[in-house]
C-alpha cells in the first residue's frame, strides 16, 4: 500500500511532463520541416526570371521594326 501510494503519484507526475515535452518537440519538428519546405519553394522562381527578359519583347513591336531593320542592313553593310 505504501509503495503503491508512492509510485502511482510519482508516475502521474512524471508521465504528463514527458508528454508535454514530447508534444513541444513534435511541434518544433513540424515547424522546422514546414520552414525548411518553405525555403525550398522560395528558390524555385529563380529560373523564369531570366526567360522573362525575352518575353518582354512583343511580336507586334518586332513586326513594326522589321522594315527599318532591313534598311539598316543596306545602310550599314560594314557592321553586319
Amino acid at each position: 500500500m505504501i509503495t503503491a501510494d508512492l509510485t502511482k503519484p510519482a508516475r502521474r507526475a512524471h508521465m504528463p511532463g514527458m508528454g508535454m515535452r514530447g508534444a513541444i518537440a513534435g511541434v518544433m519538428a513540424v515547424l522546422g520541416s514546414a520552414l525548411a519546405g518553405g525555403c525550398i519553394s522560395v528558390t524555385a522562381p529563380n529560373e523564369p526570371i531570366v526567360i522573362e527578359l525575352n518575353i518582354n519583347i512583343k511580336q507586334e513591336v518586332i513586326y513594326r521594326l522589321a522594315d527599318d531593320v532591313r534598311q539598316n542592313i543596306e545602310a550599314n553593310p560594314d557592321i553586319f
Partner: protein, 132 residues
C-alpha cells in the same frame, strides 16, 4: 540638229553619272576582310539578340574584332531605336535586327538557335517564333 546634239550629250553625261554611282555602291558595301574571313571560317556567328558572337575558343584577334563590331552595332541600334516612331527600346531593336540577320545569313555561316546552340545555316534557320 543642235538641240538633239545637246540632248544626246546630256543623256551621255547622265549615263556616265549613273554608271559611276553603280560602281561606287559596292565599294561602300565591303565589310572588313578580317571580319569576312572570320565569318566564313565559322569563328563568329550571328546571335539571337542582334549581336555578333564568338563560336567556341578563338584567338584574341577574333574576340577583339567581335567586340569592336558589337560596340558599333550597339551605337547604331540605340540611334535607330530612338528614331523609330514610336521609339523602341535598344533591346527590341537589336532583337529584331537579329531575326532579320539570321534569316538573311548565307548558307554555311554560323548562327545561334533559340536553344542557345551554334548552328550552321542550311536553308531556313531555327528562329524565335516571334521573328517576322
Amino acid at each position: 540638229m543642235i538641240t538633239s546634239h545637246r540632248t544626246f550629250a546630256k543623256a551621255l553625261l547622265g549615263g556616265l553619272v549613273l554608271a559611276g554611282l553603280a560602281l561606287s555602291a559596292p565599294a561602300l558595301a565591303q565589310r572588313d576582310p578580317a571580319y569576312d574571313a572570320a565569318r566564313r571560317a565559322g569563328q563568329v556567328g550571328e546571335k539571337m539578340d542582334g549581336y555578333l558572337g564568338v563560336v567556341g575558343d578563338q584567338p584574341a584577334s577574333v574576340r577583339t574584332l567581335v567586340s569592336d563590331i558589337n560596340i558599333r552595332r550597339r551605337a547604331n541600334y540605340a540611334e535607330r531605336a530612338q528614331a523609330a516612331q514610336p521609339p523602341a527600346t535598344l533591346q527590341e531593336y537589336a532583337f529584331t535586327q537579329g531575326c532579320i540577320l539570321i534569316a538573311r545569313l548565307e548558307d554555311g555561316l554560323k548562327y545561334q538557335a533559340p536553344d542557345g546552340t551554334w548552328q550552321t545555316k542550311a536553308g531556313a534557320a531555327q528562329r524565335d517564333p516571334r521573328c517576322p
